[in-house]
């Protein structure tokens, strides 16, 4: 990887007195989907939050397009062209689906300011968004909220999407649909860093994979290699994905 879009080197993050990230090295290549795997508590969410500036790293560097962004405030990180879908989805429950989308489109004052072609494309990916356009987002089902969370992240073109466990708590049929949507998203040349615990989901989408444990990346490589190598899966994911397939 000569010129990664995002590069973490030796990142340490403390939350209060706890030393959570203990030297994370991670690269996300342009135009690819990198999947971050790892058992509960491995530090995946903390890694994404550190990239977003929601935690500040105590050591190491976070580089985006070559610039060190480790010390930037969250809004300034987002303005570089990074969208974040947090684990809890961060839906504004009192606002309608439409209003959620307006806010996600930073440059738009009204929904008319959003590129209609792009909006049409999003409605194609997630028809529920169109159907419940004027409804308070708090009334959506869990799966629909997840779709809205992803829809918000792509309402304007972004250079990098950080998505935390989009399959969490979703029924298998919905997960299949989510995979289909992500496949289509990948065709638009979007770079994605996806946190997943569901290896089946991850394997179908990821170009590259990084496995975390105890606040470090313990394996990184092409997804295909891991998908084919059952022994490696055993040794890496045995510790990480015991509960999943």
């Amino acid at each position: 990887m000569t010129n990664p879009l995002l590069q973490l080197e030796g990142v340490h993050t403390h939350i209060g007195a706890y030393h959570i990230l203990q030297g994370v090295d991670l690269q996300v290549a342009h135009g690819e989907m990198t999947v971050l795997l790892g058992r509960n508590g491995a530090g995946k969410t903390t890694t994404l939050r550190t990239i977003m500036g929601l935690w500040s790293p105590s050591r190491g560097s976070v580089r985006f397009e070559g610039q060190d962004v480790g010390a930037r405030q969250t809004p300034d990180v987002a303005r570089l062209g990074i969208a974040y879908v947090p684990e809890n989805m961060g839906i504004f429950a009192d606002l309608t689906v439409r209003e959620n989308m307006i806010l996600a489109a930073r440059g738009a004052r009204r929904i008319e300011d959003v590129d209609p072609k792009r909006l049409g494309w999003i409605f194609g990916l997630f028809p529920a968004m169109k159907k419940f356009w004027q409804h308070p987002a708090g009334l959506l089902s869990g799966g629909q909220k997840q779709m809205l969370a992803v829809a918000r992240a792509i309402v304007e073109p972004r250079k990098l999407l950080l998505i935390d466990e989009p399959s969490k708590g979703l029924a298998p049929a919905i997960i299949q649909n989510m995979i289909a949507a992500f496949r289509e998203l990948k065709q638009t040349d979007t770079t994605i860093l996806l946190v997943e615990q569901n290896f089946n989901f991850a394997r179908q989408l990821g170009d590259r994979v990084a496995v975390m444990d105890n606040g470090r990346v313990v394996h990184a490589g092409p997804m295909a290699a891991l998908a084919e190598d059952e022994k490696l899966q055993q040794s890496l994911l045995g510790l990480s994905l015991g509960a999943h397939q």
């Binding site: 969250t74 028809p127 529920a128 989510m178 289509e184």
Partner: protein
């Protein structure tokens, strides 16, 4: 770009839209409950209008306070300073324009009241900007220090106001056209109270419009709900907060003018006296909720006037009781909008 394979079908249906209207009933229920107790219908009408007018003024003052808490978890116990400041500025401006306030012409009266309101809002807003810088900003995220330092801000502010306007009560007579009452049957309703209700409704309408129709308003509501997500979308919420703080201070200044006129006099303690009521109101309403604040303020205003008439000694206690009852029903207040 779209292909059928990628389409995620909408699941069957949403639960029916259920706007939470139950709290809206509380105000009429409270008013009707007081009807048999007050003895006569005309007394009840008078008290109810007094309560609504007081409630509207409290709402104007408290609306900024609740948003300030909702956005940044800042509890500002110095909010009362802006009330006092607004009220004293009104004594100065209206005093200087006594020719117009004493005129029987409503237009001339308004011509005096508007500059007083403008001056109060502008100065309170500017002082609010400084207050945010000097007092609030150093203690973001430190609740205990916030309580202490904003209480200190209240005391210092009050002393500074005494330096300018003196420690004594200053009269603030109503402009001529607002004196006296309208008589409906046997009930007398003071003209000024009706005017205060009208101003309160207008402020509520403007706030409602901003919060539901403008992007800044949506951002404020979203920020109250989930500050981190708003920042993750690239918005600098601290700037939004400063704007809300200034607007809230200006509204408290407006509230000070109205409250001073309501009492027809201003003391340096006018702000600290209503501080407790403000916190009761925003807790009843649900911290961060402007709609809840509106209902809470009307209930508190009504309660203060009914009990002030029926049992003056327990007037404040009755509002604390009201708050406790609401919290027993809904532990986070009428509308829980803050998501943490």
């Amino acid at each position: 770009m779209s292909s059928p394979a990628a389409a995620v079908p909408a699941s069957d249906a949403l639960p029916a839209v259920r706007t939470d209207r139950l709290p809206l009933l509380l105000v009429p229920v409270l008013a009707l409950a007081a009807l048999p107790l007050t003895g006569s219908f005309s007394t009840w009408v008078t008290l109810t209008f007094a309560g609504l007018a007081m409630g509207m003024i409290i709402f104007i003052i408290a609306s900024g306070l609740t948003l300030v808490f909702g956005l940044m978890d800042v509890l500002n116990f110095g909010h009362g300073v802006f009330i006092t400041l607004g009220a004293f500025l009104a004594t100065t401006v209206l005093g200087a324009m006594s020719g117009w306030t004493e005129s029987e012409s409503l237009l001339r009266n308004l011509g005096a009241v508007f500059p007083a309101i403008l001056a109060a809002m502008a100065v309170a807003g500017i002082v609010g900007l400084a207050y945010e810088r000097i007092i609030i900003r150093p203690v973001y995220g430190q609740p205990l220090k916030q309580i202490l330092i904003t209480m200190g801000g209240m005391i210092v502010g009050e002393e500074l106001i005494k330096v300018v306007w003196g420690p004594e009560s200053v009269p603030l007579p109503l402009p001529a056209a607002f004196r006296g009452s309208f008589i409906f049957g046997e009930a007398a309703v003071e003209k000024y109270r009706i005017a205060a209700v009208v101003v309160g409704l207008a402020v509520f309408a403007v706030l409602y419009w901003v919060l539901s129709r403008t992007k800044v308003g949506l951002l404020i509501r979203a920020g109250v709900h989930d500050r981190e997500m708003v920042e993750s979308m690239g918005y600098r919420i601290k700037r939004l907060f400063i704007g809300v703080f200034i607007a809230g201070s200006a509204l408290a200044g407006l509230g000070g003018v109205l409250w001073g006129l309501y009492q027809q006099g201003v003391t340096p303690q006018i702000g600290s006296q209503v501080n407790v009521l403000l916190f009761i109101v925003i807790i009843i309403g649900g911290l961060g909720s402007v709609g809840g604040c509106f209902l809470g303020a009307l209930m508190v205003g009504l309660m203060a006037n009914y009990t002030g008439f029926l049992a003056p000694k327990v007037a404040l206690f009755s509002n604390i009781l009201l708050m406790v009852l609401v919290l027993v029903w809904r532990p986070r207040g009428l509308y829980a909008v803050v998501n943490r």
